[in-house]
């Protein structure tokens, strides 16, 4: 995984194979992360709000703050590592600098909005939950798209 030192990843067959499988693994992990979140929080914004803030009509208790904190901390650790891995590879692609910067900026904003949204739900209410979980989905969608882009570039030996 010598992302920074190697001039061209495709020149080294072993390195290329390792990165290829790492990208597939990351995409799978991101897909599974989305599925797990769907099971935990539900599919619709109403279900997200009911899970985090509770719902008297559905007899659902609000999520314990310690559980919320633990979940966000664990999620964020994995997402930051995924972001670092994908960003350090994406820097090497032939995409324009402005495209790269825009993608990095969106990823950073969504990564910040996810924990802040959920943590401030007791202050700002349902809208914060919706922002937080929408950001989570957007981050995963973009990172999977970027990983796919990298995978194609690697297969075409352009990385």
């Amino acid at each position: 995984m010598k992302f920074i030192a190697s001039k061209k990843l495709s020149d080294n067959v072993t390195l290329r194979a390792v990165i290829l499988w790492m990208l597939i693994t990351l995409m799978l992990a991101m897909g599974l992360s989305l599925s797990a979140k769907r099971i935990d929080f539900g599919l619709t914004p109403d279900a997200w709000i009911a899970t985090v803030m509770g719902s008297e009509a559905e007899f659902v208790d609000p999520l314990l703050f310690s559980d919320l904190l633990l979940g966000i901390h664990t999620d964020l650790f994995g997402l930051i590592i995924t972001f670092i891995l994908i960003a350090s590879l994406y820097v090497r692609t032939s995409r324009t600098t402005s495209t790269k910067i825009t993608l990095f900026a969106i990823l950073l904003i969504t990564l910040l909005s996810y924990p802040l949204g959920l943590l401030t739900s007791s202050v700002f209410g349902a809208i914060a939950v919706v922002i937080g979980l929408s950001s989570f989905i957007l981050f995963h969608s973009i990172i999977i798209m970027m990983a796919m882009d990298l995978l194609i570039a690697l297969i075409r030996r352009r990385l």
Binding site: M1, K2, F3, I4, A5, F65, S66, L69, L70, I72, H73, L76, F77, I80, I81, I84, L85, A87, S88, V91, T97, S98, K100, I101, F104, A105, L108, I109, L111, L112, P115, L116
Partner: protein, 146 residues
């Protein structure tokens, strides 16, 4: 313009890492407490089996994650080789003290709660600094590609 955007990106990433570090500290204080006495009380109630159930995945997976993060250091020439090696030893040592000090605390050796507190704070701060510094290097690489 790009220079300005890169600075904003670096600041955004810095904010993200600081947020993650604060969350880690918050979680620690919320669940365990901040004083050595609270740490001792928390771990004294745990069974060896319960502690091992938490320790095993932490040691394995955070160890692998640290390896992934630290391997970048081997290829970044900006920092002298000796400093990079020392930095790796320090981070792993703090990590081991942080994780393993809970065992003597559980057995009643209270002095290790101070070691736990210092190594936890040291590990969080060092890792946060490393992440921010490496992202800065990535942005410098990006700027160099223009």
């Amino acid at each position: 313009m790009n220079q300005r955007l890169l600075t904003i990106l670096a600041l955004g990433f810095g904010a993200l890492v600081i947020l993650q570090t604060v969350l880690g500290g918050w979680l620690f204080i919320h669940n365990i407490g901040i004083s050595p006495h609270e740490i001792t009380t928390y771990y004294a109630d745990k069974s060896l089996h319960g502690l091992l159930e938490v320790l095993m995945p932490h040691i394995l997976f955070i160890g692998i994650a640290l390896m992934v993060v630290l391997h970048f250091l081997a290829f970044i020439e900006v920092m002298p080789q000796n400093t990079r090696t020392r930095f790796t030893h320090i981070l792993f040592t703090l990590y081991f003290f942080d994780q393993l000090s809970v065992l003597p605390i559980m057995m009643g050796v209270e002095i290790f709660s101070i070691l736990k507190l210092i190594s936890f704070i040291g590990f969080e701060v060092t890792l946060a600094w490393l992440w921010i510094w490496m992202f800065k290097i990535t942005l410098v690489t990006l700027r160099g590609g223009d």
